[in-house]
Symmetry: C2
Subunit: 298 residues, 2 copies
């Protein structure tokens, strides 16, 4: 068996990461490790996080102003919470070179694509919307690590205007990070992730928020075990990032929240009525679905 010819690897002279957190920082570290990038400029709002990013070698240079940073950039990754993207795009638009390729790491795509159409009209054909399905509950540059994207899916959502060369470039960068590429349209993307990511975050945040407001909250949490700990791990995630995601994807998310509250009502009714058969049916359905899903994800 002869090996396939190696993919042509892009050489990036200058990568600009706007928002040097878990997503942007890990992208930088992975490309540095793959020796695909020579110089990484990080842009961020807080001096402390940028200094930490410099200290940890996540970036090589820190700049506060996005417009200054992106001059002569080959590639720009926008890794901020989605709510900040309109402002970031508007700020960099006049300073971008015509050849610069732009991508993002936002968790919602219809809104981000709309922002790019509006605020990056001259560069929209070199903007490749992307969503890496990776993350932890930690945030900030210190949470970044080169292996975050290894064997993870990255969704790419090229539009009909997107130049093939820009798509190839972004694809090869994510592949160099160790990711698998998946293509989806933006509406399908937003519906899927409302269900499997945005809703679970609201479920977890609301659960801890409710428990935290009880008069005996600290006693309660002192008695909790591994079950609650895992169930609410993602309630440690960035409030700002998730607030933006929830609002950006509000339509799909509100529908799912309604379905979820309806299911909780069914559970509540069965518990109150002592309806063992109805509860068993729900719990068995859940256990079986989880089992099939774990089997598939191996």
């Amino acid at each position: 068996m002869s090996a396939a010819p190696p993919r042509r690897k892009p050489k990036i002279r200058k990568l600009v990461v706007i928002g040097v957190g878990l997503i942007g920082g890990s992208f930088s570290l992975a490309l540095k490790k793959a020796r695909l990038v020579r110089h990484v400029v990080g842009v961020g709002r807080t001096r402390k996080n940028l200094q930490e990013a410099l200290r940890l070698g996540v970036i090589d240079e820190a700049v506060r102003e996005p417009a200054l940073a992106v001059r002569d950039a080959d590639v720009v990754l926008i890794g901020t919470p989605v709510g900040q993207m309109p402002e970031v795009m508007a700020a960099i638009a006049p300073a971008l070179q015509p050849t610069t390729v732009i991508t993002d790491g936002g968790s919602t795509k219809q809104d981000v694509i709309g922002y790019a159409r509006r605020f990056l009209p001259e560069h929209f054909d070199r903007f490749v919307p992307s969503h890496p399905i990776a993350g932890t509950e930690k945030s900030g540059a210190s949470a970044a690590f080169a292996g975050l994207y290894r064997d993870r899916n990255v969704i790419l959502l090229p539009q009909h205007e997107t130049r093939p060369a820009a798509l190839r470039m972004v694809r090869s960068l994510w592949e160099a990070c160790g990711a698998r590429i998946v293509r989806l349209d933006a509406k399908t993307h937003d519906e899927i992730f409302a269900a499997v990511s945005h809703l679970p975050h609201v479920v977890a945040f609301a659960l801890v928020s409710m428990l935290a407001q009880r008069p005996n909250a600290s006693t309660l949490l002192g008695f909790s075990g591994a079950g609650l700990r895992d169930t609410v791990r993602i309630a440690g995630s960035s409030p700002e990032m998730w607030r933006d995601i929830c609002i950006a994807n509000r339509e799909a998310l509100v529908d799912l929240l309604d379905d979820y509250m309806e299911e909780l009502e069914v559970a509540r009714g069965a518990i109150e009525a002592g309806d063992a058969a109805a509860l068993t049916q729900m719990f068995q359905r859940a256990r079986a679905a989880r089992g099939r899903w774990l089997l598939k994800s191996r």
Copy 2:
């Protein structure tokens, strides 16, 4: 520094475990490992699970009839789902020796104590209600392991009738399993665990149940990541066991479900209205509480 005198360890000639699952099986394995028990008799409803328990050395002898098994037992642990306990207690009551000490591993305590008062009236002073705060989402004898209780809390709920010698015996057995002993009254216990254990299970079961019923369920779950996986880990737990717990503790649980659904309504309203401040407040409250709690549990 001189060592404290060693606690007097009880020698159990015959331990009977009724319900040889994760809880009962791990109790047996831990006491065997500590060399505190000579002979363990397992009682169960399915031949297959008992044979597996024998094969794995979780028990030394399998018996189908509880009344036959408990004759000349020193200690009996009832490790069945709480819904089966009345029947088990009624079955063993006529066959117990006057000296036999009885305990249980049920996750709800007001109901179990009530059952014991009613169905074990002659032995109620040797019944020591207990609840080990340990478990995984797995069930059955094959899930049992000797280290399950190491450094975990075990709640003991002696009643005013409970003989001190029976309490000491049960306490020393759980300590020999590596557990820390905590005392609570039954009502407080049930309220606390409704919040930190029973509610999270309903939250997780209902979430997967709802997702599993969507037309695109298998696509959805194919795109899910670590967030959803951890959030719903406990939806892999035994439906029968959790059905019983939910119904046994229905009063406290329904109250908490109402509070939780109210919190979800708040989140839903904020998302629909695009109320960033309200969402930020909820998510930050949750993240801060989770952070304090993790800090404490170290």
